[in-house]
């Protein structure tokens, strides 16, 4: 039997976008166990929300995660709004869907690039990130900022999208779809890419369910579950189906995200077609009280917010359970028995967002 060595994978490792440590117990190049250690980017944001005013907390929760910041703010706003029984104007519900899907687009493009980088395909990585710039431009034009767009507010949104901007967005999305076809061909057909993704880090339907996987990890194992189908914001008025793949390997998780890019473009087009006229925010008076748990589908899966308010301008407690946290048990299951060369791909395939996880 070979001698066991421990390979410290992380916290600082080039293929990891954010610091997480996995101590890999290896026999030759085979991983027999992975011991995770988190806590490298804990910033105490949950505690901070208790000292800030309720409206200011939007800017705090946006900073939990850079890549899905809009969804964090959306989830928080929806929670406070339902505590205070505020009806959000129709137009702002659609605008929230549009920005939410733009965020999903840029997050998935970022991830596709990182995955390409993890299996050593630099030109594909550059291609993905170049396409992502189109989405970032849309963000910059509509919201004034590229990543943390701060357009959510209690009772609606802070900025409107006018018809000129709509034209620009739809044109960019057409271009983006053409570019997506180019990279989809590589991701789905290229021999070397398939060699690295197919049948790597398989997680079965039962395991995915048992270990509480969420989002694309779950959908890639054949479980059709997408929180958007419950119809928050304006999703109940839009036509879409959760994207499901059956094989549960890295290839399936990649395909789920790649197909979700197309789906997001489609949803944005639908939302623009149905975008109603009207105000973009309803007035908010008073302070919430009571407790609530709200959920939103982020690019990485389902995020859960627990909010406890006491009728003043400060919250008693805000608790966030992010999708990456839910996916880590599934990750530990899938890395067992992999060779070292497949570890970066397996880790990236859950789209880890460690800042989210540790808040």
């Amino acid at each position: 039997m070979a001698k066991k060595t421990i390979l410290p994978f992380g916290p600082q490792h080039p293929v990891l976008p954010e610091p997480i440590q996995l101590q890999l117990v290896m026999e030759d190049e085979i991983v027999v166990e992975a011991i995770p250690a988190i806590g490298y980017v804990h910033r105490g944001l949950e505690k901070l929300t208790e000292t800030k005013a309720i409206a200011e907390n939007i800017f705090v929760v946006e900073r939990i995660c850079g890549i899905c910041s809009f969804m964090h703010a959306l989830c928080y706003c929806q929670g406070i709004e339902s505590l205070m029984n505020i009806t959000v104007p129709d137009r702002s519900r659609f605008l929230r869907v549009i920005w939410g899907e733009l965020h999903r687009l840029h997050s998935h493009h970022l991830w596709l690039g990182l995955l390409a980088d993890a299996f050593g395909f630099e030109s594909l990585f550059m291609q993905c990130w170049r396409n992502r710039e189109m989405v970032m431009d849309i963000m910059e034009m509509t919201a004034g900022s590229r990543v943390i767009i701060s357009t959510n507010a209690l009772g609606g949104v802070r900025r409107d999208i006018d018809s000129d901007q709509q034209k620009f967005i739809l044109n960019s999305l057409n271009k983006l779809q053409e570019e997506l076809d180019n990279i989809k061909r590589v991701f789905s057909d290229d021999y070397t890419v398939n060699k690295r993704l197919v049948d790597v880090a398989v997680i079965s339907k039962e395991d995915a369910h048992e270990l509480g996987a969420v989002g694309p990890v779950m959908r890639a194992s054949g479980l059709s579950f997408d929180y958007r189908t419950t119809g928050y914001a304006a999703y109940n008025e839009l036509d879409f189906e959760p994207i499901v793949e059956q094989s549960g390997d890295c290839y399936a998780r990649m395909m789920v995200r790649l197909r979700e890019c197309y789906q997001s473009i489609d949803i944005i087009r639908q939302a623009f077609a149905k975008l109603p006229e009207g105000p973009i925010a309803s007035p908010v008076k008073g302070f919430p009280s009571g407790e609530i748990a709200t959920r939103v589908e982020q690019p990485r899966g389902e995020v859960l917010y627990y909010i406890k308010a006491n009728g003043t301008n400060h919250l008693d407690r805000l608790r966030v359970r992010t999708p990456t946290f839910a996916n880590i048990p599934a990750l530990l299951k899938m890395v067992k028995g992999l060779t070292l060369a497949d570890i970066p791909i397996a880790i990236l395939s859950i789209d880890p967002c460690i800042s989210c996880t540790e808040r």
Binding site: K52, A53, E56, F59, V60, R63, F121, S123, L124, Q127, R130, E133, D137, E140, M141, G144, S145, I148, S150, R158, N182, I183, R185, V186, D189, D190, Y191, T192
Partner: protein
């Protein structure tokens, strides 16, 4: 195996999409939140922006009529500009370039100056 060739060759024979940054700059879209400034002549020094600023970057001295923003604390959310009763706070699209010292932006009635401070 050769699915990427088309993309790569196309890239090779077209103009690069990156630019040599300090020499070539990109135009920003209008309404980009780049930096915040205050017009000291219009401002009434009511302190509403200080109250509502989520990152506590703005300090208003009502007695001496001094408005100070710490650009390194500011998160450019734009709340101050939104709630300003006289609309004297404006957001410009130019970003603040990296600097070697942390300079606070001070706006004072009649006198406009940039003062050095070690924040």
């Amino acid at each position: 195996m050769f699915a990427m060739v088309k993309n790569v060759i196309k890239n090779l024979f077209s103009r690069p999409s990156t630019r040599l940054f300090p020499y070539q700059t990109r135009e920003f879209f209008p309404n980009v939140r780049g930096s915040i400034d205050n017009d000291p002549e219009v401002c009434i020094y009511c302190g509403a922006c200080q109250m509502r600023c989520p990152s506590e970057a703005i300090v208003v001295n009502r007695a001496e009529k001094v408005w100070t923003i710490n650009p390194y604390k500011c998160i450019l959310c734009g709340v101050c500009a939104q709630i300003c009763p006289k609309k004297s706070i404006a957001i410009h699209s130019e970003y603040v370039h990296p600097q070697s010292s942390k300079v606070k932006k001070i706006r004072q009635k009649k006198v406009v100056e940039e003062a050095q401070s070690h924040a």
